[in-house]
Each structure stands twice: as C-alpha cells, then as structure tokens.
C-alpha cells in the first residue's frame, strides 16, 4: 500500500532537550495506526511537527505525495491533514454548531473542487452533530458541555474539515469506559469511511482494539513498530513501560 503520510528522519529539540530524534514513520492510506508511549515521550511533539504547529529541525514530512516543510498548519489542514487537540480547544464565544462552521467555511470551501452553499454547510453541520451525538447541543456554547461532549466537539471539528488523515491526540483521556467505547465507535466509523486514523492514546484497551499497527515512542525515539500483539510482547517496550 502507498504511504499517505511519510515522516523521515524527523528531529526536534527544545533548547538542549531532544524531544524527537530521527523518527521514521509511514502511515498507509486507510490504515488505523496506534501511537503510544509514556508521558513525555514526544507523541504530541510529533503530532505538532506533522500538523505544522511546531517546526521540525531535521527531516521531512510528506503527506499525499507533497512535502509539508514550511507549510503553515492551515494549509496542511486544507490538504487533508486534520488533528484534534489533547486538551479540547473549542472556540468558546461560538455555539457548538458555529464551531463546526469554521472548518467548513475555511477548509472545505477553500479547496478548489468544492464550494458549499450556506444551506449545504448548515446541512453538513447538522449531519456531523448527529454523527457525534451532539445534535441537541448545537445551540449551546462550549462551556455548557461536559468533558465527553467537549471531546466529541473537538473530534467533530476535525472531521468537519473532511480530512484524508485524522490524528486524534488523546481523545479519550479521562473518560469512563462507556464513553471510551463511544469515541472508539466513532473512530471506527470514520475509518470505514476511508479516513486514515492515527490514534494517540494511553488507554491500552482502546488502542489494542482499534489499531491495526502500533508504534511506540520512548524518550523521543521510535522503539517499536508492528502488529499490536507483537509490539506488546517486545521486551524493550515492556521494559520502557514497567521498568526492569
């Protein structure tokens, strides 16, 4: 399968601290990839470098056969690379529905092949809200939402950009078991629609059931990459998580 996302030799440091060192990562079209690692291992930094909110010092990011180097985040989003944030970042002065208008107006309508009318945008927002189960909250403001609703909004906003690749950065942290299943079902549905999904998560049950392939980052390096069951048996991974 052809790689949709190709990260080569990517490195990032903050002052003297090496956050990421020569990371190579391929994500195939339509794949469901899990990315795990202890706290501070560089998962979010990697996402930030891929989505363009941080500049990587070395290496390249290639998406959909295009070099991403130097492209600002909004252009990457327009090319089909969407992400959600670990801590939800809703637009708090807008209603839930309006939050979803933004990527439709600024991303979907910025692509040459599409131009949605206002009515079409409204319909699409309605659809998305149905899909994530926030239809009843469409007129509310983010501060009225519960934690899980906030996560759903965060995901819905990333989905509204009609991405080819969705990176979900700890979309389930702090949620209850049932809520985790909710989000998982949602992500599986997206994957079935042909969207490539990279899931960053600490909840192993979720990662193991979702991922077709698992990548482990430890201290800024890629430690393992392969089928989930094999990776979990990898002695180095076990050592990184549990100590010797």
């Amino acid at each position: 399968m052809e790689a949709l996302l190709r990260v080569e030799n990517l490195g990032k440091r903050f002052g003297g601290f090496v956050a990421l060192e020569s990371i190579d990562l391929d994500v195939a079209q339509g794949e469901r990839l899990g990315l795990i690692g202890p706290n501070g291992s560089g998962k979010s930094t990697l996402v930030n470098c891929i989505s363009g909110t941080l500049r990587n010092e070395t290496g390249t990011v290639q998406f959909d056969n295009r070099r991403m180097d130097g492209l600002p985040p909004h252009q990457r989003t327009r090319l089909g690379l969407a992400r959600s944030f670990q801590l939800p970042k809703p637009f708090h002065s807008m209603t839930v529905a309006e939050n979803l208008h933004v990527p439709l107006l600024y991303t979907v309508n910025a692509r040459h092949e599409t131009h949605l009318s206002n009515a079409a945008i409204d319909r699409r927002v309605e659809e998305l809200l149905q899909q994530v189960g926030l239809a009843e909250k469409s007129g509310r403001r983010p501060r009225d939402l519960t934690q899980i609703e906030m996560r759903k909004l965060e995901l819905a906003r990333a989905m509204a950009a009609a991405p080819k690749l969705l990176i979900a950065d700890e979309a389930m942290a702090g949620l209850s078991n049932a809520e985790v299943d909710d989000i998982l079902t949602l992500l599986v549905k997206l994957s079935e629609q042909g969207i490539t999904v990279v899931l960053i998560e600490h909840i192993m049950r979720a990662v193991m059931s979702f991922s077709q392939r698992l990548v482990v980052l430890v201290a800024g390096r890629k430690l393992a990459d392969g089928p989930p069951q094999d990776v979990m048996r990898n002695p180095e991974v076990v050592r990184a998580y549990l100590g010797e």
């Binding site: 909110t53 909004h74 989003t77 327009r78 209603t95 600024y106 991303t107 910025a110 906003r157």
Partner: protein, 315 residues
C-alpha cells in the same frame, strides 16, 4: 438584517442627524460634535482589531497622527479636496498597519500592546524631527475660506465629513462582524492555534484586520489639521487619544459594532461637557473612573445590560 439594508439605514441616520443639526445655531456644538464623532470612528476602528480579533492596540494615536500629518503634507503640496486627504490618510495608515502587523502580529497579549505603543513613539520621534511638517514647532494650516457645497461655516462642513466617516466606519465594522472574515477573526480571538488547525489563515486575517483598523484611524485623523488649524506632534500623538480609543469600546462593549458607538458617544460627550462645565484637566479622570467602574460593574459594557454583550455570531 441584510448588509445593504443596514447601509441604507446608516445613511438615513447620518442624514437625519445632519438634518437635525440644521436647527443648531451655535458653532460650538459642531466643534464638540466633531470630537464625539471622531471618537466613534476611532473606537470602531480599534474594535476591529481589539474586540473582534483580540489584539490590543495601544498605538492608535500613531495611526491617527499619520492620517493628520499626511494631510499636512498634501496640504502643503497642493491643497487637495477633503476626500483626497481622507483617502490618503487612510492609505498611509493602512500601509503602516500592514507593516506593523507583519512585524508584530506574532506577538501576543501584552507584548503586542507594547510593540504598538512603541510604534507610536517611533512615529512621533520621526515627525518631531521632520522639518517639512513643522517638526516640534508644529505647523499652521490655513484652511480654505469657504466650505464646498454649502453655506454654513467650515466647522459645519468638517462635522458633516466626520459624520459620514463615522457612518461608514460603523457599516464596515458591522459588515465584518457578519461575514466569513468576522468568523475567522473571532476564532483567532478564541484560540489562535485551534483556528489555524481548522484551516483559518490566521496571519492573513490578522493583517486584514490591522490594515482596516489602521486605515480607519488614519481617515479619522486626516481632517484634524483643518479642525485645529495648528498641529504639533504632541497634540497629534496625544496619549489621551489612545486611552480613549481603548476605553470607549470597553465601556460600550466589544462584542459587536454598537458597543464602540455607545461607548464613544457616552464617554466623549461626558468629556466635552466636563471640559466646558468643570475643567478640561478632569477629562482623563472621568475616563479612568468610568472605565474602572465598568470593568467592575459591567464587564460586558453597556450592551451587556441589554443581553447583547454575549458574543453572538450568525451563520
């Protein structure tokens, strides 16, 4: 309300106010009214960047003075009509806004505010040392003997000019508020990183906001030399102007176009009345006291009392 209807209503309001002033015989009314209207433009302009986008500009006096001094230059060159002065003032301030935006918009919060304040000081230093426009001595401007189009005194003409400018500024602000651009600016104010990730070209939109805001301030400053007829750097770059332009939207409410208008009319009128009845030195004290009480009692400004203070956006 559709945008073109709003423009018609605004035009009608402008015409109505002007019609009413035809019954005013005291020229002082026009002197005071000019200042109030000028602040409507300034507060509205400030709010485009400060209220909609969330970037606090302390350099308003710089943009305003640029408009005034570009008028001085043009006046010395060939005395063009008022429209040309205003357009030129807007152009100069808009271009400087673009440059300033490009240099400073990667700063956030208080750092951006300091940078804009610094810009105003740099500009003031340049003007103070530029002999052609009078330098620190200032410059006398002899305005045309008669106003074009109508019989009233020149100050009435200036009043009308500022009235039209205020109407236009309000229309521009409202159009932005209800447009895709307004949406984009609001996302920047809420969370810039999330905005960028949602596909909003934040730098571009911030530059548009800075240019529009700066240009409107320049336009507000352009007629100033004809208004005071003697212009020196300390009056053009008056810090009180910057303070007022920030205080007015805060007092009125920054959420939509009507806030700055209410704030400007309220504060500027209080100042004008205080100047003639109590003491001109007390002006800024009033601004301070009112601003502090609003921050405490009505953080959403005057419009907050009417339930419109919540930021409201439409699709």
């Amino acid at each position: 309300m559709r945008t073109w209807i709003f423009w018609l209503v605004a035009a009608a309001v402008v015409a109505g106010i002007f019609g009413l002033t035809r019954f005013v015989t005291n020229d002082y009314f026009f002197f005071a009214g000019y200042v109030v209207l000028q602040y409507v433009v300034m507060a509205t302009a400030w709010n485009i960047l400060g209220g909609y986008t969330g970037y606090v500009n302390f350099g308003t006096a710089g943009f305003y003075a640029l408009g005034a001094y570009s008028s001085v230059v043009l006046h010395k060159l060939f005395e063009p009509p008022m429209v040309v002065l205003i357009l030129a003032g807007g152009l100069v301030s808009g271009v400087v806004g673009l440059g300033m935006g490009y240099l400073t918009l990667r700063l956030r919060g208080v750092f951006f505010a300091i940078a804009t304040l610094a810009l105003a000081i740099v500009l003031e230093t340049l003007i103070t040392n530029w002999d052609y426009v009078g330098g620190s001595r200032g410059v006398y401007i002899i305005r045309p003997a008669a106003a074009p189009f109508f019989q009233g005194g020149y100050i009435q003409y200036l009043f009308l000019v500022m009235l039209i400018l205020a109407g236009m500024a309000v229309c521009v602000a409202r159009s932005i508020e209800h447009s895709k651009l307004g949406y984009g600016l609001a996302t920047i104010r809420d969370d810039e990183l999330a905005a960028e990730t949602a596909g909003v070209p934040t730098l571009k939109l911030k530059l548009i906001a800075t240019v529009l805001s700066g240009a409107l301030m320049g336009m507000a400053g352009a007629p100033l030399p004809y208004y005071i007829t003697y212009l020196d750097p300390s009056s053009a770059f008056n810090l009180a102007l910057a303070v007022n332009s920030i205080a007015m939207p805060m007092v009125g409410g920054t959420a939509n176009w009507i806030g700055p208008v209410l704030g400007a009319v309220f504060l500027a009128t209080v100042q004008q009345v205080a100047t003639v009845t109590i003491s001109s030195a007390l002006n800024l004290l009033f601004v301070g006291v009112i601003l502090v009480s609003f921050v405490v009692i009505a953080p959403n400004g005057i419009i907050g009392w009417f339930g419109r203070g919540k930021r409201r956006r439409q699709g």
